[in-house]
Symmetry: C2
Subunit: 415 residues, 2 copies
């Protein structure tokens, strides 16, 4: 099959999208919200067709499932995006040059944003709203097992766009087959950025195959370092929260580093984890300290592969380190540069850690669970970037924009 | 050959580079400048070995050649970079969240910057100075026919770094063979960004092969639209300058679009081009207007492939358009989104053009020759990005940085 016509439609629509007024955009978003509430039956029926093809025991089943309450939440999210200030047109820099040229750097849309994701129909609404708000057209490649849901959602989006006199090419759902993904990855000249959302396998595949610019999101191999100066009670709360609040998310804690002089505190520090049923993979000193104190069924000796693993489960690795530099070295070696934390009372240790650790978010004395667009006050989130180019950490509206240089003259030539 | 040890050295050096003080960095840059002046003989001898392997008639010969005057200029450039304010540590955003967390977004180095370039030894100095200034380690893959020059320059850089007690891994010259390029393109986990500088062929190759994030630079297919309202004398000056100031650069004019009501002015508008010896490829109405007025030897009918060509020569395409929207359509179809200009007195035409055209730099009533880091006041330039992710147009120091989120708490957990 030939996919270029989809890409051409998106490119053409993106030209028009760049000059839409905020009022036009917000009217669309509010009408989509209203429709998401009104067309509940239509959307749930399509969703039921997808659900019927999946085992209820599949971990993806819950993410695939739409309910009236979830549609209500999605409608609220759409209205929230409508209420945000558009970053477009923001003047990032403005100056007059000695030769009389007026120079300004102005925020503009990226153009065409491609998103590859798994069976999560809520993402279809999210990506559309964030892209439209930022003047971008979007090309969606959703999971094939959510295709009925996505088709229904996109048909609803198209109806609203057409009623508002806008180009349906602003949102395109690509066919569910794998070849469409391949074509999207190679759509040089059509796609300004591609954002894969999903498993590490998907992200690795995209990195291997993409010929268009990509923003990597995803994997978080997250550490928290319990310094010699750390407060024990704070450590108990923060480590419990970072590990167990939601184990399936990328900011969840994977590896606790403990200063060797505080290994003695491990039984108390880890007690809340035991209550929560967390399996521990401990290095020799930590294992010795926990043995007899931590439930035997949940305590295992660590092997090398437990360090640098993103567990996404009630599991944690514990490693003893001689000092802060050793903690920094371990993090540098194993971190995926997502979220890293220190627990310490010593200001010098805190500053050294915050300055030295190379990660999207670095924390002192707080749970890494806060790495999230809404928590950071971005208003919305299209993903969490784990690369350093363009956007780092939670990506909101600004991260879906580029800029251009506008130069106004009265006949200037360069000597 | 195995190249991973080069990448590991650069990665290790980048950790140290991120926490260097501005004084340490500037001391290195000033000493390198002093050495570039003092070791003239050493550098010119190495350069002579490269020159001896190239025909003097080769267009690359002049770019390869170092002279005492050029080394003097390079030394001044190094001192200029030393005098600029470092963007590192700049606080891009700072707020206190309702839960008491203090959140700041702070500029940090990218990490390891790879640059692939052709036989231009001056780039070796430039990339080193801009990367060191921004706390990055750099991996250099220069043209093989400049390898003696590059080796000499990098040995000089290493001596200075060692004298200043810094890690020689801050700058690494990769071996001249093609396999090193291939390894660099695939150095996932080591290279944070790769910037290819050179021919379209090189850039296409990088886009096809790279598994690490890339910033594309280069090709400029540049238009200037002469509106129905444009001033003729201004047009003569600006078009001449944009086309002929330096034909080999990416911001040079490639295609003049003329409003059909102003085709009558073409003989006067193009007269300065004739004097400069510019070959014209004109569409039928423009050809008819120029016939008998423009030197016959320099006037040819345009064929389709002349539109969308980057000439890099004393050649220009001329196309007649019915109106501004037709000009915008032509630009949208053929532009490489580098630099685009309108010549007009009508304010509405100007605003429509500046808002609608999707390019790194959009001009009203000025020569596109100004698209340049120094002209835009960036202080320095590592390349001109033609993509929309991360950096667009001239890239200076800020564009060689990323940011991280620093979160300070007193035990906050997320509910």
């Amino acid at each position: 099959m030939e996919y270029t016509h989809f890409f051409k439609k998106a490119l053409a629509a993106s030209r028009a999208a760049a000059v839409l007024s905020p009022d036009q955009v917000n009217a669309v978003l509010r009408e989509v919200a209203a429709q998401a509430r009104e067309k509940t039956d239509f959307l749930l029926e399509a969703n039921a067709q997808d659900l019927a093809r999946m085992e209820a025991a599949d971990p993806a089943y819950d993410r695939l499932k739409l309910t009236p309450a979830r549609l209500q939440d999605l409608a609220q999210d759409l209205e929230k995006v409508a209420s945000l200030t558009s970053p477009l047109g923001q003047v990032l820099l403005q100056k007059s040059l000695p030769n009389g040229l007026s120079l300004s750097k102005v925020r503009v849309p990226l153009g065409v944003v491609g998103v590859i994701y798994e069976a999560r129909p809520n993402v279809t609404f999210d990506v559309f709203s964030l892209c439209l708000k930022t003047g971008n057209a979007c090309l969606l490649k959703g999971g094939s097992n959510a295709h009925f849901s996505n088709q229904a959602i996109v048909s609803l989006l198209h109806q609203v766009l057409e009623r508002q006199g806008l180009d349906a090419g602003l949102v395109t759902l690509l066919p569910p087959e794998r070849e469409a993904t391949q074509a999207l990855l190679q759509a040089v000249g059509y796609v300004d950025v591609l954002i894969p959302r999903g498993s590490q396998g998907l992200i690795d595949y995209v990195r291997q195959q993409a010929k268009v610019p990509v923003i990597e999101t995803g994997a978080g191999i997250v550490h928290t370092y319990f310094d010699v100066s750390a407060d024990l009670e704070m450590g108990r709360q923060v480590i419990l929260n970072a590990k167990t609040r939601r184990v399936s998310v990328c900011n969840a804690l994977d590896c606790l580093l403990v200063h060797e002089h505080r290994v003695i505190d491990l039984p108390l520090l880890a007690a809340p984890l035991a209550e929560a049923g967390v399996e521990v993979f401990a290095d020799a000193p930590a294992f010795a300290a926990l043995q007899g104190e931590y439930p035997a069924a949940l305590l295992h000796p660590a092997t090398e592969e437990h360090f640098g693993t993103e567990f996404l489960a009630l599991k944690i690795a514990i490693k003893t380190v001689a000092d802060l530099p050793a903690a920094l070295d371990h993090i540098s070696l194993h971190s995926s540069k997502h979220s890293e934390a220190i627990l310490a009372e010593d200001p010098l240790a805190i500053e050294t850690f915050l300055n030295s650790v190379d990660a999207a978010a670095v924390y002192a004395n707080a749970s890494t669970a806060f790495t999230d667009g809404a928590q950071f006050g971005l208003g919305a989130e299209i993903g969490i970037s784990t690369q350093k180019l363009h956007a780092r950490g939670p990506m909101g509206l600004e991260e879906l924009t580029s800029y251009k240089w506008i130069v106004r003259g009265n006949g200037q030539t360069r000597s």
